[in-house]
Symmetry: C2
Subunit: 238 residues, 2 copies
């Protein structure tokens, strides 16, 4: 894996600090990806133990967020970075906040494994799992694009979020129809609905991280502008 | 209103830049507060026009977020701040991200005003409004604590989030029971449920902003630690 296109500095120690920072972010990303994988597996196999593990492991991600954030602040104060170094550090500071929230959402999803569902309801768990695997791939690709600061990959993932949104809407409609037909199922189906929402939110957070990649590489903040604008104005010179 | 306890610098221009930054954040905060007020009023009075206004005004908050973020980056690159100046700028960079998301949630709430509810369902809108006014006050107090960098006020608001969470849980239970009794109402009641969720999320975001106040004043990152720990370890020397 390429090395985040880090600039080489005269100060070997500064290089090392940025490399360490990068490694810590990738470690945090790996942990978050594992949490989401475990959450989905726990739901798929009604594995209560694994679900509990997801819930009790969240604090490790929180600790890492705080320590990486501190690392960013220290580097800024000590090295007074400018231009792309500063953009890198600020992109990392934002990305870890999204990663931490993805970890929280994984915990919400894991809780579904603690409930039992009837035969007819299993079909929704299957749809949830399908959506979950898609979002997991999106997260994996996002972390990969972030590790390589690959702006083209980031833009492709950014576009893919539409698919997740469509899947979320379809599943929501199905679940609402089912609740209307079997009102006693409402409390349980609501848990599935909240989990679908969590997955949709993870998709949004992956999109955020992809925006930071574009910000780092292109020096332009592309939040709140349309995909067409990003493609035309920012990536036009690919 | 006190002036965010800004340090005075030898460079008058640096002082001016920090003062401008502060004014822009407070302007953004004021706009977000107005959006939430309008959203709640729109729902209370079934005012479709006002709801549409909330939805079409959101872009102004987004623009402000991007420009304040750029301002933060420029000041860091140009002034190479350290210690409390750097903490202030980083606290602001984080706070505007929460403010922008509060604006998004206000938009989601406003959409409820575009639906019509039966007489029996009005009672839920009333509960939603009660919860909304409480969250609005929390937001107002949060912005006030942020403007004054008042760590005691921030801690009190932080504690108040529990009340919002309890209200959210009570309302959710009520809404689920009602849906079970009248399944045809599910699509509409779900809108109320999502709005209640949005309010609960706004409470969480206010809590985040309060944590940045504590971080700025005390130099300690209090995310992910318990209220008891904050009180004992961080604020003990009040």
């Amino acid at each position: 894996m390429e090395s985040m296109n880090l600039n080489k500095h005269i100060s070997g120690q500064f290089n090392e600090e940025l490399e360490n920072l990068r490694n810590h972010v990738m470690k945090m990303g790996g942990m978050v990806e594992q949490q989401l994988t475990n959450a989905l597996n726990a739901v798929e196999n009604t594995d209560e133990e694994l679900a509990q593990e997801v819930l009790t492991s969240d604090f490790k991600i929180n600790l890492l967020e705080v320590s990486i954030d501190e690392e960013c602040t220290k580097i800024i104060a000590k090295r007074q970075p400018a231009a792309s170094d500063l953009r890198l550090i600020l992109a990392i500071a934002k990305a870890i906040s999204d990663l931490e929230r993805i970890g929280d959402e994984a915990g919400r999803i894991a809780k579904v494994a603690l409930k039992s569902f009837s035969g007819a309801q299993q079909e929704f768990l299957l749809s949830l799992d399908n959506m979950g695997r898609q979002v997991l791939k999106m997260l994996h690709d996002t972390l990969d694009a972030f590790a390589r600061m690959d702006v083209d990959a980031a833009f492709e993932i950014h576009k893919d979020d539409q698919k997740v949104d469509r899947e979320y809407e379809a599943l929501t409609r199905q679940l609402m129809t089912y609740m209307m037909e079997d009102p006693r199922s409402i409390p349980k189906i609501m848990d599935v609905l909240w989990s679908a929402r969590s997955l949709e939110r993870i998709g949004d957070r992956c999109q955020n991280i992809c925006e930071y990649v574009i910000y780092f590489v292109k020096g332009k903040d592309v939040r709140h502008i349309t995909r067409e604008q990003i493609e035309k104005d920012i990536l036009g010179n690919r």
